[in-house]
Symmetry: C2
Subunit: 217 residues, 2 copies
DNA sequence: ACCTGAACACCGTTCAAGT
DNA sequence: ACCTGAACACCGTTCAAGT
């Protein structure tokens, strides 16, 4: 292998499953998942679309890889953190990742999360709850609640009229017109449009943690 | 108009926006949203795909109509129901609709819910909370929590390994193999795979309602 | 072992042409 | 006013052919 070949390999990068997924994530972050196609992804990697199939089963395989990469980026708390703080950190850190990659939640909703990083993440959350003294049944309940809360808030954030007001620039006008038909929506619309999601999320998370804690004693 | 023409019109049905959305929902229920295309939907209605554009803006417009139809099918509680029961009923009834049409939650996640039926539904939930004595801020908090919980549990149900074990028929085997790497997942997998979602959902809903109630006094 | 061109069976959407 | 055929610019995926 000559020096030039070596340079080309290094700058263009060798085509691997990981590199494909990496570039797919960057592309989805910039242009949205719906714009992601095998042909465009190939072009981004300096290769024809068909070459991707040498490293990846199909497009769904890429989706699964993207999901697992994002879940894998959620930091895990130290083993000795008290469970309430560990859960709070896991929740807020998960939210942060999901917010940074808004396409991941809808994708998880249809594809699930069963990759190695997702299993590792899940195992850690279950460990925190079990070690805190919850029964297996309550650990299960708690996982479902916490996962639902995190996924649900991601949904709220994704479909927040404030966040997507490019599409709904006439929303406040519309709401004002419908004020007598939907008075409560009209009154609370400003709160919904410009709320701090981090604060909102933690408000609910604390209620859940308190509710779970009451079942421990 | 002759008798025969009248019959044909009645049996084939007149093409309208509502009828298109109705048939689209039935199609998505049977074959999944990802299989829904303008061409197939046209065929289902005995018409070419291009004709649909006379009654509908585009495919997204159909999606929005499908979402609003499903939300509109959630029954609203009587005005004088005590708020805890009203909220519980709204939550479980919403869950029931979302479960009956598994494609609706991922769709809402990307499209939001801003149709007339959705606004009506939202206004009613906000009214229940306001009338219960919550401040506007807490009403807002409560809406976000309840909506998140409902959406989140729909997600859990949709991606439940038990529900999709046609795709993951080897999941229990896989989990067993990884038992030493993910011990808690392995131990709780049966609970997750075969849990009663209705019961799970209400467990969490009660914790949320209790937590909100504590802010009322 | 990896990449490619051509092909297949699809998409959503537009638009001029029909009635 | 509503429906259609043909067309445009895309899709994911397969497969024989190249190196």
């Amino acid at each position: 292998m000559t020096y030039d070949e070596d340079m080309a390999t290094r700058t263009r990068g060798t085509l691997t499953r990981d590199r494909i997924i990496e570039v797919a994530i960057a592309f989805a972050d910039e242009h949205g998942v719906e714009a992601l196609s095998m042909r465009k992804l190939g072009a981004e990697l300096g290769v024809e679309a068909m070459s991707l199939y040498n490293h990846v089963d199909n497009k769904d395989d890429i989706y699964d890889g993207m999901i697992d990469f994002v879940v894998g980026a959620i930091p895990l708390p130290d083993e000795d953190t008290v469970w309430q703080n560990a859960i709070r950190a896991l929740g807020t850190d998960a939210m942060e990742q999901f917010s940074a990659h808004p396409w991941v939640a809808p994708l998880m909703m249809t594809r699930g999360m069963f990759g190695p990083a997702a299993l590792r993440f899940m195992d850690r959350v279950l460990a925190v709850l079990s070690n805190a003294g919850f029964t297996d049944e309550d650990t299960h309940h708690a996982w479902q609640m916490l996962a639902s809360h995190t996924m649900g808030y991601t949904f709220q954030q994704a479909t927040n009229p404030g966040a997507i007001d490019d599409k709904f620039d006439g929303l406040d006008v519309l709401v004002a017109q419908l004020a007598e038909e939907f008075p409560h929506v009209a009154r609370l619309a400003p709160l919904l449009a410009q709320c701090e999601f981090r604060h909102e999320f933690e408000f609910g998370l604390d209620i859940i943690i308190d509710g779970l804690e009451a079942r421990l004693n």
